[in-house]
């Protein structure tokens, strides 16, 4: 049995579901998640540090089994190239690319939304002039992607891809369509909560990150092994946007706010360190 076939999230072989994949029930996956979370909470009670990033060896997300490094990440002091980041500007990104609803001839179907927020670093400083990329499913839960064969309609007026460069205060703003949940083949009856993927750069390349923004109140949160791979509840909550009626506009779009915090810049610290010697 090919593991790749079993764990594949693509849907092009959905008519021949692998019994090994469908045999895993949501209850079994949820029980695994519950056990891992309970053990995590106990470790915090016992004095362990909060785990604010996803656990990369999170077995309930079956695709991670053979893809997570087994050895600890090696701590290293960043060198010159790692302390800088590629430069992006108007040459790279047109201002209209942040509106995902105007890329085709007609209006996309679904709930028009505005998602805005700020990109900050771990020291609370705005990250200006950096690239933010997003991608997402459409209002029916379908991606425009050759591997996504989920039988939901493709919207000819929605590709689900946007880009922006952060402003002087780290601000970004996208106009898009609220994505829907969609099924995937991690286990039987697995559905992902609605989400928008975000790709971000900071001022150091060590701050590079990709994450997912979720919508408040999604009933699928507790069932989703990707979201639950962040074992710390407070950390998990950071991926959920806030509905903000002040962003919502009259007869046009509902509004969400989501701020993103990258890691700290190592560059300043290194310069300070050099100054100490």
């Amino acid at each position: 049995m090919s593991t790749e076939t079993t764990l594949n999230e693509s849907f092009n072989d959905s008519h021949v579901l692998d019994p090994a994949a469908t045999a895993l029930s949501q209850e079994a996956i949820s029980a695994e998640i519950t056990d891992i979370h309970a053990a995590y909470r106990q470790s915090v009670v016992d004095g362990a540090k909060a785990a604010t990033q996803p656990r990369i060896d999170f077995a309930p997300y079956r695709s991670s089994l053979l893809r997570h490094p087994t050895k600890n990440l090696h701590h290293v002091d960043p060198e010159t190239i790692e302390l800088h980041s590629p430069a992006f500007g108007e040459r790279d990104v047109h201002a209209l690319e942040s509106d995902l609803t105007i890329q085709h001839n007609g209006e996309p179907i679904g709930e028009r939304i505005v998602v805005q927020g700020r990109v900050l670093d771990g020291d609370g400083r705005p990250v200006a002039g950096q690239l933010v990329e997003i991608w997402q499913a459409n209002a029916a839960g379908r991606y425009i992607h050759k591997r996504d064969q989920h039988p939901a309609p493709i919207d000819p007026n929605f590709t689900g891809v946007g880009r922006a460069i952060t402003g002087p205060n780290g601000e970004y703003r996208f106009t898009t369509i609220k994505p829907a949940p969609y099924p995937w083949k991690n286990h039987h009856n697995a559905w992902r909560p609605a989400h928008i993927h975000f790709s971000l750069f900071g001022t150091d390349f060590t701050q590079r990150m990709i994450t997912q923004m979720y919508f408040p109140g999604d009933p699928l949160f507790s069932l989703d092994p990707i979201y639950q791979a962040i074992t710390d509840k407070e950390a998990r909550d950071r991926l959920v946007a806030t509905y903000d009626h002040s962003i919502t506009s009259h007869e046009w779009a509902t509004g969400y706010n989501w701020d993103i915090v990258l890691t700290g810049s190592n560059r300043t610290w290194m310069e300070d360190e050099e100054g100490d010697h």
């Binding site: 990369i56 053979l66 790709s199 590079r208 991926l239």
Partner: protein
């Protein structure tokens, strides 16, 4: 003795962060039309003198190639200068921006066309920074691709020196006959690549 220990601790501990970083998440399988772009893996034209091919495969814990990873590199130019020029996403064919991105192909193979980076500081071993994203990988991974030639600098490199030989060699590319660099990435398994964490990650 105590004073020395404290001094060492002070020099290695990064200042605490004021804000907790947002958690990362997997890139997932369907980034297809979002992240790839025209000439994304061509940091320079193949026709440019000095251009090289950097390539390899990405494998999982069974040694099986992964068809849905995405890689990015970031590097200095041939003289070791860190460039700060835009135009990575809309390449003009002339400007070297130091950054590239590529999705692996159906058999897990990636290729960049780039330049040999120079050392950014005298006596340092030159390397290319590599970031790995993939379905099944819950957060991005960082590593370094060292050039194999400057053996003295490699021997003196603090990161490489801190690793046992079998781990160390996972970070050093192989030079091919045509001048290209071969660098395979193993997410897991016998030749698991050394992946890096930086002081101020969380």
């Amino acid at each position: 003795m105590t004073a020395t220990s404290n001094a060492v601790a002070a020099n290695t501990a990064a200042p605490a962060l004021k804000l907790t970083p947002t958690p990362g998440q997997t890139i997932g399988p369907f980034y297809g039309y979002a992240l790839p772009f025209a000439k994304d893996n061509e940091l320079v034209s193949q026709a440019r003198p000095g251009s090289i091919r950097l390539h390899g495969v990405v494998t999982d814990g069974n040694g099986t190639v992964i068809p849905d990873a995405l890689l990015e590199i970031w590097q200095a130019d041939e003289a070791g200068n860190v460039v700060s020029k835009d135009g990575s996403l809309v390449r003009d064919g002339y400007t070297f921006t130091g950054w590239g991105r590529t999705a692996v192909d159906n058999v897990g193979h990636y290729t960049f066309t780039t330049l040999n980076p120079g050392a950014t500081e005298e006596g340092k071993a030159p390397f290319i920074m590599l970031t790995v994203f993939a379905r099944g990988l819950l957060n991005r991974l960082f590593t370094r691709i060292y050039l194999p030639e400057d053996t003295a600098a490699l021997a003196a490199d603090p990161l490489l020196a801190s690793l046992p030989e079998d781990r160390r060699r996972t970070l050093i590319a192989t030079r091919e006959e045509d001048g290209g660099l071969r660098f395979d990435v193993s997410l897991q398994g016998e030749n698991e690549t050394v992946f890096l964490a930086y002081p101020r990650e969380s």
